[in-house]
């Protein structure tokens, strides 16, 4: 296969960026999208040009490092697929592909296609945990968790923190990421004691960095882990309830 790649290059956080076009021949359909960049980079190095910087690590869709806007779609055209799991057989021979970094105020570009997603950690820091100091835990089977609950919590917990939801959202909102974490913990019995504070703190932190949700649903389509926007509704519900709750009396239940 022959592929024409138009890639965003930007030498540093405050530098001006621009597109650069390269032709890559001998692309095998079995190659992953990142391997396409590997061979392009090898060619660039051979030419004495600096290779394109892009984040990646696991290359199997779980670490959440890879982050490319491919032809106007976060992680490319395939649903439920991270950039590293996208294979070239999904493209036509001779295709022209445009690649950009994630764009959001909270995700400043570091270089080329690498962005800084630290803001996600801030949201987790604000309350995305259960306070359970090591050693203080009761037996794992002491608290029963209905299977349906743990399955739903797992659906939410599958988020890999890639930021595609923000990248895809026309509003630059991080609702899907935040909702996934809030609901993973808020659904479980272990998460109840901190439930209301958690949602308020995490949402507050989220809104310092990101946009709001108009329910465009782009995030759900871009999400490599198929996380449902239903979780956003559940987060909204918890947030609204938390505003009206007499927290001292309602430690236990929804």
């Amino acid at each position: 296969m022959k592929i024409t790649l138009t890639v965003w290059r930007q030498s540093g956080p405050n530098a001006r960026g621009g597109f650069e076009t390269h032709h890559v021949d001998d692309v095998s359909p079995d190659m992953s999208f990142l391997e396409l960049f590997d061979i392009l980079n090898e060619a660039l190095i051979a030419d004495g040009k600096e290779p394109i910087a892009f984040d990646h690590d696991c290359r199997e869709g779980i670490c959440g490092s890879c982050s490319m806007m491919i032809n106007g779609r976060a992680h490319g055209p395939e649903r439920g697929t991270a950039t590293c799991q996208l294979h070239m057989r999904k493209f036509q021979d001779g295709a022209h592909i445009t690649v950009e970094p994630w764009r959001a105020a909270a995700f400043p570009i570091i270089k080329d296609l690498c962005v800084d997603r630290t803001a996600f950690d801030r949201i987790i820091e604000a309350g995305g945990y259960i306070s359970a100091p090591t050693g203080s835990a009761p037996d794992g089977n002491l608290i029963l968790v209905p299977k349906a609950v743990s399955d739903t919590a797992m659906d939410a917990a599958a988020c890999i923190g890639c930021g595609a939801c923000v990248a895809a959202c026309p509003n630059g909102a991080a609702q899907l990421f935040t909702a996934a974490k809030v609901q993973h913990l808020n659904l479980l019995p272990q998460g109840q004691p901190e439930r209301w504070e958690r949602v308020v703190n995490m949402v507050t932190e989220m809104e310092r960095w990101f946009g709001s949700c108009t329910l465009h649903g782009e995030c759900e389509v871009a999400c490599p882990k198929d996380i449902s926007i239903d979780f956003i509704a559940l987060m909204n519900r918890d947030f609204i309830k938390a505003q009206f709750k007499q927290r001292r009396l309602t430690g236990q239940h929804a």
């Binding site: 590997d38 057989r89 090591t134």
Partner: protein
């Protein structure tokens, strides 16, 4: 060569009581004094994140360093299968002792009894801890925790969260860590790579790091340094490890005096998707559980070109079932891997590159129905299909062994301290608990045991006497020297301006190692590797091309440093393999096999951990031995016939 007293500090007393005794006898730091101690933790995988979070909870001042942009991306995130714990929730005869025994036996009797027993003991607390953190382990309909079984064990003791156990456990630890960051006990340095350990007066006093965005070389001082930097499997270039996993931290520590133990013990995992071309950048693991229902075969005919459905039953060779009638397709990883290699070497491999064997689900689909198979393996099958473009419901999957895990690592004593006082190693970075072969679902257990329970209990022993001392100031000569060395190294790499990319050298090194020190090794191949690697290293220093500068993000430069270390480490790996004149676990020497081709251990001469000392560039490393004594288990030859 220094005289080392390789004292593992194993506590006295009966096996089952050692850990409790030890916890009582180690020195403790008073809660109000803990904030006066600064501990540097390098690496944010399961081991590092859990250790940093726990030390932070205890009140120590923790500095956390990771080259990732967020701790959650550490390689541990990729673990699929599960985590073992001796809970005996199934009432199937499991016990702490059984988990201990299985692990020692699975490790082919090359691990330290006391450590393994402690691991089995705390495994129980790990599950409790993770559940309390909100890890969504799989549940039964009644709301209780579910279990599955894994290779090498006859009981069901593996806890799992879909196919994403590592992810969920790491997120639990990461969240605990971020909570501590929020509370101010842990300070996180992201996109920061540790490039050297600083030693003063024989003690570890800090590290030198390079900020990957600005290129700043900076020192961090602490009372103790903890390395939880993962395994070195990527020395083979192609492996199931994440692309950025590397050996630099442990290798630099080794160069500063920490002994490296058993580097030749590398685990090859039998069920990975074979490479499809030269551009292949990494290999993907398919969970071992597929072997429960998949039958492994190759065509009987050499070079059979027919597509698998054209090959009649009689012309297929189910070689595992044939050779190991008792265990069949479920023999342990090392045995299955070697058997597959034998077929491929005999040119009976399948697939476009003839580099795989079939793993065929069709019989199970016919027997159980497609729905059952889909429920059991749906996401694996989907992953396979995505990567290969083939549909396993119709065409058998192709698999081949690949490098997966490093049992070897920095030598540590019972306290997880290396031979350098104040320098600790946790998780896959140390050599401690898996001997010559690791059982499935035991790495996650070990990482979390080390981080949550062992290190926090033992580090006080080293710290307590240091009360009243401050960390060495970072303008101390020891730091300045180390910083200068690091800067010089970085400058040197940028200055070569040769003709080959870093990846080129990494790939070449990988080929040398895989061919000569991979699934099967011999004196001849190892000696070959030992001449080829130094040549390649020289070539690297003369001919590598690293473009760009050292003052901004430069991924080639990052890789160059890591590959430079791999080029040194790879040699030690081969040297260790050469010296170990036996076959055990992941280390298979062609010279040492039984008549029917099984591994032949030599307990009389090699029942020890080989700990290597660095003696200088291009100088031969010195070997030290920690004899392994087996008081509770009886050394037996493994047989899976």
């Amino acid at each position: 060569m220094t005289e080392f007293n390789l004292d593992a500090h194993i506590p006295d007393g009966p096996l089952a009581e050692k850990w409790d005794h030890h916890k009582f006898s180690v020195k403790l730091v008073n809660p109000s004094n803990r904030r006066k101690f600064r501990v540097i933790v390098v690496g944010s995988g399961l081991a590092g994140a859990s250790a940093a979070a726990t030390l932070g909870e205890l009140g120590f001042e923790v500095t956390m360093i990771t080259f990732h942009d967020t701790p959650r991306r550490a390689h541990s995130i990729a673990a699929q299968g599960g985590i073992n714990a001796a809970k005996n929730y199934r009432n199937d005869g499991d016990s702490i002792y059984r988990l201990f025994y299985d692990t020692v036996k699975g490790g082919d009797f090359r691990s330290r009894e006391a450590n393994v027993h402690r691991l089995a003991q705390v495994s129980v607390n790990i599950i409790d801890q993770c559940v309390a953190q909100g890890v969504p382990f799989a549940r039964e309909y009644g709301g209780l925790l579910d279990n599955r079984s894994f290779g090498g064990a006859q009981v069901s003791r593996t806890f799992y969260a879909r196919g994403q156990t590592g992810q969920q456990l790491l997120l639990g630890a990461y969240q605990a860590l971020l909570r501590q960051i929020h509370l101010g006990t842990v300070t996180l340095y992201r996109r920061t790579e540790m490039l050297d350990v600083v030693i003063n007066d024989g003690r570890a006093v800090g590290v030198v790091t390079r900020d990957l965005i600005t290129g700043d070389v900076v020192s961090h001082a602490g009372h103790a340094v903890v390395l939880a930097t993962g395994g070195y499997g990527n020395v083979f270039y192609l492996s199931t490890n994440a692309k950025n996993s590397n050996a630099s931290a442990i290798w630099r520590a080794h160069r500063r005096g920490a002994l490296m133990a058993n580097p030749c013990f590398t685990q090859i995992h039998p069920t990975c998707i074979p490479a499809s071309d030269d551009f292949q950048s990494k290999l993907t693991l398919m969970s071992e559980s597929l072997r429960n229902d998949g039958r492994i075969w190759v065509p009987r005919e050499f070079g059979d070109q027919r597509s698998p459905d054209q090959i009649p039953e009689g012309e297929r060779d189910y070689f595992l079932e044939r050779r190991y009638p008792a265990f069949g397709n479920l023999v342990p990883r090392d045995v299955a891997s070697r058997a597959a290699k034998r077929e491929v070497d005999a040119e009976r491999g399948v697939g476009p590159l003839k580099n795989g064997v079939y793993l065929d689900l069709s019989e199970a689909i016919n027997r159980l129905g497609r729905d059952v198979i889909e429920e059991r393996y749906g996401n694996l099958i989907q992953m396979y299909e995505r990567i290969t473009g083939e549909d396993p419901y119709r065409v058998p999957m192709r698999i081949y062994p690949a490098v997966h895990y490093a049992m070897g690592g920095l030598w540590v004593d019972y306290n997880l301290q290396t031979t350098v006082p104040g320098l600790y190693a946790l998780g896959e970075a140390n050599f401690s608990d898996h001997g010559a072969n690791r059982l499935g679902a035991s790495a996650l257990m070990q990482g979390l045991a080390d981080g949550y329970f062992v290190l926090p209990a033992t580090i006080g022993d080293y710290l307590a006497p240091l009360l009243g001392t401050d960390p060495l100031p970072t303008n101390h000569q020891a730091f300045l020297d180390a910083e200068a060395e690091v800067s010089e190294r970085v400058g040197a790499l940028l200055g070569v301006n040769g003709s080959h990319s870093v990846d080129y050298f990494h790939r070449e090194l990988g080929k040398v190692l895989w061919e000569n020190c991979g699934m099967a090794r011999s004196r001849e191949t190892l000696e070959k590797a030992l001449t080829e690697i130094p040549t390649l290293r020289d070539e690297f220093h003369k001919d590598v091309r690293v473009l760009g500068d050292g003052e901004s993000l430069n991924q080639s430069l990052e890789k160059a440093g890591r590959v430079e270390d791999f080029l040194e480490f790879g040699e030690l790996l081969c040297r260790d393999a050469l010296h170990r004149e036996e076959s055990c676990g992941g280390h298979f020497r062609l010279e040492h096999q039984t008549e029917d081709g099984e591994a032949l251990r030599d307990d009389e001469h090699f029942a020890y951990a080989a700990a290597w000392e660095y003696t200088g560039d291009n100088a031969r490393p010195a070997l030290h031995k920690e004899p392994l004594e087996f008081e509770s288990v009886h050394l037996a030859q493994r047989s899976y016939k």
